[in-house]
C-alpha cells in the first residue's frame, strides 16, 4: 500500500514556476482574446494559447526530471491557508497529453471552425478555456479548487458537444450536464465532510488528519467523492451518458473528450486513493471494488462496442472499455509488482489517449467525406480514404495492444504485474478485454475492406474531399500512438520515478 506523500520538495527555480503558471494562463488569456470580434484576436488567442505549451512543458519536464516534484504556492500563502500547485511525473505526463492532443485536435478543428467567423466564434473561446481548465485541474493540489476546475471542464466540454447541433447531440449534452452536475455535488459533499474532519482542503495534507478522524466520516466522505468521480469518469455502470455524448460531438471535440476529459476524473481518483489516503486508512476492499468496476467496464464496454452499427459509437464504447484498465491496477498497490503495474496503468493512460484521439479524428474525416459513419457504408474505404483508414488501423493496433504500439507495451506491463502479484482474476479480465478489443477493431477493418454488394454502396458522388491537413492530424496522432512503443525506456523511467508511495521525506 502506498505510503502518504511526505512533505514535498521546495519550489524550483522561478523559471519553472513561471512556466507552470503560463501553462494555465496562456490558454485562459487566449480564450479572452478569442471572445473579441474579428479574425485577428481569435487567431492570436489560439496561437498564443496553444503553441507555446510544448516549449513550456520541456522546461517543466527537465526540472521535474532533475529535481523531482515541486510545489508552487499561489499568492505566496503556504498550504493549509492558500492553494498550491503540485507537479510530479504523472502531472507532467497529463500536461503533455493536453498539449499534444489538444494542439493537434485544434489544428484539425481550424478547418471546420474557422477562427473569428460563424461557429468559430463560438468554438474557440470554449476550446481554449477547456484546455486551460484541464491544465489547471492536473496541477491543482486543493480539493475545493479541483471542484471549481471540474465544473469549468464540464461547462466548457458540454457546449462544445452541443455545437454539433443535432438532436442527438443536444439530448446527449443535456443528460451529460445533469449527471455531471450531480457528480460535482457528490464530490463537493465529500469535500465538505473532509474539510471538517481534517481542517484542510489540501489534497496532500488531508492524509495527516484522516487517521485521526472518525472512520465513519472518512468512509462516507471518500465514498461520496469516489462516487462523484466515477460518474464523471463514466466508469461502468455509471457510463450511461458517455457513448452518445462522445459519438455525437464534433470530431476534434470527441477526440479531446475521450482522450482527456474523462481522464480528469480517473486522474483525481488516482490522486485521492494513491496520494491522499494514508495506508492506515485505505481499505484493500475499496481498491478491489474499484478494480471490479474496471473489469465490468472492460467487458461490458467491449461487448457493446461489438454491437454498434456506427463507427463513432464503436469508438465511444471502446472508451468505456479502455477506461477499465486504468482502475484494474489499483488492487496491486500493496504488492511488490506495484511499480510495474503503475507503469502499465500510466502508459495505458498515455497510449489510449493518443490512439483514441487518432481514431476519433479519422472517424470525423470519414464521416465528413462519406456523409455517413455506418459500418455498412464504409466499404472500399481503402480506395476512397486510404490515409484515414491507415490512421484508423494504426490506432486500432494500439487499442488492441499489438506490438510494436504503445498499447502493446501498456498491456504487456499490466500482464506482467498481474502475473507477478498473483491476481489471477485480473489476468483473466485483461486477456478477455484484449480479445474483445481485437474483435471490435477487426470488425471495423473488415467493414472498410469489404467490396461486394454494389447495390448497397453509396454513389461515389457523395464522397467529399477532406483537407490534407485534417488527414495529417489523424495520421500524426496515430503515428505517435504507435511510436509510444519505441524508445519507451526513458519515458518509463520517468513514470517510475513518480510511482506513488516511493518518495521519502527530503
Amino acid at each position: 500500500m502506498a505510503t502518504p506523500l511526505q512533505t514535498p520538495l521546495q519550489t524550483h527555480s522561478t523559471m519553472t514556476s513561471e512556466a507552470l503558471v503560463a501553462v494555465i494562463f496562456l490558454p485562459l488569456l487566449g480564450a479572452c482574446a478569442a471572445v473579441m470580434p474579428g479574425r485577428f484576436p481569435a487567431r492570436l488567442g489560439i496561437v498564443a494559447g496553444l503553441l507555446p505549451l510544448p516549449g513550456l512543458l520541456v522546461a517543466v519536464t527537465l526540472a521535474v526530471w532533475h529535481d523531482g516534484p515541486a510545489w508552487l504556492e499561489l499568492g505566496g500563502w503556504a498550504a493549509p491557508l492558500g492553494i498550491r500547485l503540485f507537479v510530479d511525473p504523472l502531472a507532467v505526463l497529463m500536461l503533455w497529453m493536453v498539449a499534444i492532443i489538444g494542439g493537434i485536435a485544434a489544428a484539425h478543428a481550424w478547418f471546420d471552425f474557422p477562427p473569428g467567423t460563424g461557429t468559430g466564434q463560438k468554438f474557440w473561446p470554449l476550446w481554449l478555456l477547456l484546455i486551460s481548465a484541464m491544465n489547471a485541474l492536473f496541477l491543482s493540489a486543493d480539493l475545493f479548487n479541483l471542484y471549481v476546475c471540474l465544473e469549468l471542464v464540464t461547462l466548457t466540454a458540454i457546449p462544445l458537444i452541443a455545437l454539433a447541433g443535432s438532436k442527438t447531440a443536444i439530448r446527449a449534452s443535456m443528460r451529460y450536464l445533469l449527471l455531471a452536475l450531480l457528480a460535482s455535488l457528490l464530490y463537493l459533499l465529500g469535500v465538505a465532510l473532509l474539510y471538517n474532519a481534517t481542517g484542510t482542503l489540501d489534497l496532500y495534507l488531508v492524509s495527516d488528519g484522516l487517521g485521526a478522524a472518525p472512520p465513519m466520516v472518512v468512509t462516507t466522505a471518500l465514498a461520496l467523492i469516489s462516487l462523484g468521480l466515477l460518474l464523471k469518469g463514466a466508469v461502468f455502470p455509471l457510463h450511461i451518458w458517455l457513448p452518445q455524448a462522445h459519438a455525437s460531438a464534433p470530431g476534434p471535440v470527441s477526440a479531446v473528450l475521450s482522450a482527456l476529459v474523462v481522464k480528469t476524473a480517473i486522474y483525481l481518483l488516482y490522486r485521492l486513493w494513491l496520494w491522499s489516503v494514508p495506508a492506515t486508512v485505505a481499505a484493500e476492499g475499496a481498491l478491489t471494488l474499484l478494480a471490479v468496476l474496471g473489469a465490468g467496464a472492460l467487458l461490458y464496454g467491449g461487448v457493446l462496442a461489438l454491437l454498434q452499427e456506427r463507427l463513432k459509437l464503436v469508438i465511444a464504447y471502446s472508451t468505456v472499455a479502455q477506461l477499465g484498465y486504468l482502475l484494474l491496477i489499483l488492487p496491486m498497490a500493496s504488492s511488490s509488482a506495484w511499480p510495474i503495474a503503475w507503469q502499465g496503468g500510466t502508459y495505458q493512460l498515455l497510449s489510449h489517449g493518443l490512439a483514441k484521439a487518432a481514431m476519433f479524428l479519422a472517424a470525423a474525416n470519414i464521416l465528413h467525406g462519406l456523409g455517413s459513419d455506418r459500418l455498412s457504408d464504409l466499404q472500399r474505404l481503402d480506395q476512397r480514404q486510404p490515409l484515414s483508414l491507415f490512421a484508423l488501423a494504426m490506432a486500432g493496433v494500439s487499442i488492441m495492444g499489438l506490438p510494436p504500439s504503445g498499447g502493446f507495451l501498456a498491456k504487456w506491463l499490466l500482464l506482467e504485474a498481474t502475473w507477478r502479484s498473483g491476481q489471477w482474476w485480473l489476468l483473466a479480465v485483461l486477456v478477455a478485454g484484449s480479445l474483445l478489443a481485437a474483435a471490435y477493431v477487426f470488425r471495423i477493418l473488415a467493414a472498410t475492406l469489404r467490396r461486394d454488394d454494389p447495390t448497397e454502396a453509396r454513389p461515389a458522388a457523395e464522397t467529399r474531399s477532406i483537407p490534407a491537413a485534417q488527414t495529417a492530424c489523424a495520421l500524426l496522432l496515430a503515428l505517435l500512438a504507435l511510436a509510444a512503443g519505441f524508445a519507451a525506456a526513458p519515458l518509463l523511467e520517468f513514470i517510475e520515478a513518480g510511482t506513488p508511495g516511493t518518495w521519502s521525506s527530503p
Partner: protein
C-alpha cells in the same frame, strides 16, 4: 454540538436527500434543475453549520466556498436553461424522454441521426 447546529445539520441532510430524490425521479428538466440547486443548498448549509455558524461567525473558508459555490450554481443553471430551450426547440418537449436506465439500453442500439 449545540442543539441549533443539530437542527441545521439535519435540515441540510434532508434537503440534499429530497433534492437527490427529485433529480432521480423527475421527468421535467426544469424541475431537475431545481432539485440540483436544492442539493447544492443542502451542501452549503452543511458547510456553514459545521463551520460553527450556530455559535458565532462561521469559519471564513467554508463561507468563501459557499459564495463561490452559489456563483457556480447560477452559472451552471443559466447554461442548463439555455440548453433546455434549445432542446425544446428541436424536440418540441421540455422533458427527458423515457427514463435513464432504459434509455441507456436503447441508446446502445440506437442511431437517430
Amino acid at each position: 454540538m449545540n442543539p441549533t447546529a443539530v437542527i441545521y445539520v439535519l435540515t441540510a441532510a434532508a434537503i440534499f436527500g429530497i433534492g437527490l430524490y427529485g433529480l432521480l425521479v423527475s421527468r421535467q428538466i426544469l424541475r431537475q434543475l431545481l432539485t440540483i440547486n436544492l442539493m447544492g443548498g443542502g451542501i452549503f448549509l452543511l458547510l456553514i453549520t459545521l463551520g460553527g455558524g450556530a455559535e458565532g461567525p462561521p469559519d471564513p473558508v467554508p463561507q468563501a466556498m459557499v459564495l463561490t459555490g452559489i456563483v457556480i450554481a447560477v452559472s451552471a443553471t443559466a447554461f442548463a436553461l439555455a440548453l433546455l430551450l434549445r432542446w425544446q426547440e428541436l424536440s418540441g418537449s421540455s422533458e427527458v424522454d423515457g427514463d435513464a436506465v432504459t434509455d441507456a439500453v436503447t441508446d446502445a442500439l440506437d442511431d437517430d441521426e
